[in-house]
Amino acid sequence: DAGVTQSPTHLIKTRGQQVTLRCSPKSGHDTVSWYQQALGQGPQFIFQYYEEEERQRGNFPDRFSGHQFPNYSSELNVNALLLGDSALYLCASSTYNEQFFGPGTRLTVL
């Protein structure tokens, strides 16, 4: 079992650009959550996808959007990037309680 995988590992973008991050959940998991971890902070909940629908959303602007595919994999899209979007983006998959995290994608916005 490969666990939760994320791609790419690192990414550098400039302000105003758009970015897409990808996540493949652990085998057997149907729910995917996305978190943003800024430097020196704990992860902050962005949103969660279940059955291809956004089930709950944290306090993030509409520039952050997502998608879940029939195979349960997920994408996180961020439009009009700001310097403050620089962070580690974590994906977590789960079935009920315990969430398993991927290694994250490090996004740097210049």
């Binding site: 704990g42 909940f45 995290f101």
Partner: protein, 114 residues
């Protein structure tokens, strides 16, 4: 509005001694609490959890204590080992709803000295 707080950014402990990591929360409407451990370049890894109806949960070297009246929980690691050196996050899950959204603290960096 930081609902889950870890006021100690770092902690240094000698190998074999006890490590105590602390966490405070401001919202009484949390269903259960979890501790995660994070190594550099890896995602957080689940360690141990506790339901809001319990006051203690133990798993090997790890014990979590919950004091609801003080809105405080702590993670005890006994004995501490150098491999325990990592960032530890406390997290809480709100009551109700269909999701298990996690609300994290800011983390405590534990260094276990050989």
């Amino acid at each position: 509005d930081q609902q889950v707080k870890q006021n100690s950014p770092s902690l240094s402990v000698q190998e074999g001694r006890i490590s105590i990591l602390n966490c405070d929360y401001t919202n009484s409407m949390f269903d259960y609490f979890l501790w995660y451990k994070k190594y550099p370049a890896e995602g957080p890894t689940f360690l141990i959890s506790i339901s809001s109806i319990k006051d203690k949960n133990e798993d090997g070297r790890f014990t979590v204590f919950l004091n609801k009246s003080a809105k405080h929980l702590s993670l005890h690691i006994v004995p501490s080992q150098p491999g325990d050196s990592a960032v530890y996050f406390c997290a809480a899950v709100p009551y109700g709803g269909a999701t298990n959204k996690l609300i994290f603290g800011t983390g405590t960096l534990l260094a276990v000295q050989p």
